[in-house]
């Protein structure tokens, strides 16, 4: 019994140390990326800009089609259900406040974040893991090219920009699609509903939205890259590490969405 207790305490200690090491490692990794990207003489180098644009195309543009479909379907479903409920309770005046809060604060960052994780995180992980496996970083080192600036920084910036654009696009489509439906239900025009939405928008919603977008964009790039760089150079390890990366990412994602709701 006592031995089981000791083993239990040991496993908790081991788990705590690994979490502390992970957070320390990822913090230093992030600082190093931003320091290399923002404060080097090669900042806004045409090559870096080209790589950022390519990454936006690679991880962001390809998601537009999926986001469009999801935004229209989910936007209609969320707003349709919520507005019906509110109309049944006779709370039609609160529709703007409730729906804006739901869309901006929860639905847009959460749904776009999930889509973004599925598409971008796995792509970034495989990209970096294969680069490590193929000895690409050795080539960069030989040419005195900083990998933090040329490889990691463009991906982080592209991820944050893509996340911001996709979430804003999601909100726009959801508002247009779902509030068209709402204007029929309430027998009013789209512009009136639009005004109701804009007037219902609070500064805390916007801050929460920006907080979630920024950090989701950041972790979607940072965690897969960090985990890929941690792995040993072997194809088997790519699969094992990818699993690890997605789990870490999922926990961090939930944490960020949770903190976002507290704002």
């Amino acid at each position: 019994m006592f031995m089981h207790f000791i083993k239990f305490v040991e496993s908790i200690g081991k788990w705590s140390i690994s979490i502390i090491l992970f957070f320390t490692g990822i913090t230093f990794f992030t600082i190093k990326i931003f320091a290399a990207g923002l404060f080097s003489k090669a900042f806004l180098n045409p090559v870096s800009v080209t790589f950022i644009l390519r990454q936006i195309n690679f991880i962001g543009v390809e998601l537009i089609k999926t986001t469009t479909i999801v935004a229209l379907v989910l936007g209609l479903a969320i707003v349709g259900t919520l507005s019906n409920t509110l109309i049944n309770f006779g709370a039609t005046t609160s529709i703007g406040v409730v729906l804006t809060g739901v869309l901006v604060k929860i639905a847009a960052p959460f749904i776009t974040g999930l889509l973004f994780i599925f598409r971008a995180a796995s792509a970034i992980f495989i990209d970096i893991a294969l680069m490590k496996n193929n000895n690409d970083f050795k080539a960069l080192k030989s040419m005195d090219i900083d990998e933090y600036q040329m490889v990691f920084f463009p991906r982080v910036i592209a991820s944050i920009i893509s996340m911001f654009i996709l979430s804003s696009y999601f909100i726009l489509l959801s508002i247009i699609g779902s509030f068209t439906l709402l204007s029929f239900q309430l027998n009013t025009t789209l512009s009136v509903v639009g005004q109701q939405v804009i007037s219902a928008l609070q500064i805390s919603d916007v801050i929460s939205f920006i907080f979630q977008i920024f950090f989701i964009g950041l972790i979607v790039a940072i965690i897969p890259m960090y985990t890929a760089m941690e792995q040993k150079r072997s194809q088997l390890w790519i699969i094992v590490s990818m699993n690890k990366s997605m789990l870490r990412l999922f926990y961090m994602f939930i944490l960020i969405v949770f903190i976002g709701q507290l704002i």
Binding site: N45, P46, V47, K138, M143, D144, I145
Partner: protein, 177 residues
């Protein structure tokens, strides 16, 4: 500017040829010595064009499209212009060598080190390689070729300086046409 003598002395002072490439890379910057070797692979995530111009664009803040024509012209000399937008995985050994050679030559370093060209090229493509090196001679400084002694006769008609270490031959040269 690294002088021919400096490289010759460096090579002569090496006890072991195994680490000569990595030692050279550690000692000199890529701007001064560019290496064509298995030790400095092409980046698999980038196209041949990106690989070739990466260093030049990174250090001189050039736009990639501005040096594209220069790269096409170089690849044309080796009858390989079609590889420009391919990735490393799509290239054969010879094409990878040409891409690495272009990457080394294009930014005009003081010295180009070529590690075992016969291994990449085979005897058939070797003469073409030497001809293009002669053509490029005015653009580049010194060329150092590390090659196994059994292939030394391939270099006989070139005006070169041979420095032998064990069974390896190190040619330090400015090739004259």
């Amino acid at each position: 500017m690294i002088k021919n003598n400096a490289i010759t002395t460096f090579v002569k002072n090496q006890n072991d040829t195994k680490n000569i490439i990595t030692d050279l890379i550690d000692q000199y910057s890529w701007g001064k010595i560019a290496v064509v070797s298995e030790d400095v692979p092409l980046m698999s995530a980038l196209t041949v064009l990106d690989n070739i111009v990466l260093y030049q664009c990174y250090t001189k803040r050039l736009n990639i499209s501005k040096v594209e024509n220069e790269v096409i012209e170089f690849l044309n000399r080796y009858n390989e212009p079609n590889i420009i937008y391919l990735h490393k995985g799509q290239l054969n050994k010879y094409q990878q060598f040409i891409a690495k050679l272009a990457r080394a030559i294009i930014h005009k370093p003081d010295v180009i080190v070529i590690d075992m060209p016969v291994d990449y090229l085979g005897i058939d493509n070797f003469n073409l390689f030497i001809d293009v090196l002669k053509e490029s001679n005015t653009d580049i400084g010194n060329i150092m070729i590390i090659e196994n002694a059994r292939f030394s006769n391939l270099y006989d008609d070139l005006d070169i300086n041979k420095v032998g270490i064990d069974e390896w031959l190190i040619h330090v040269t400015k090739i004259l046409s």
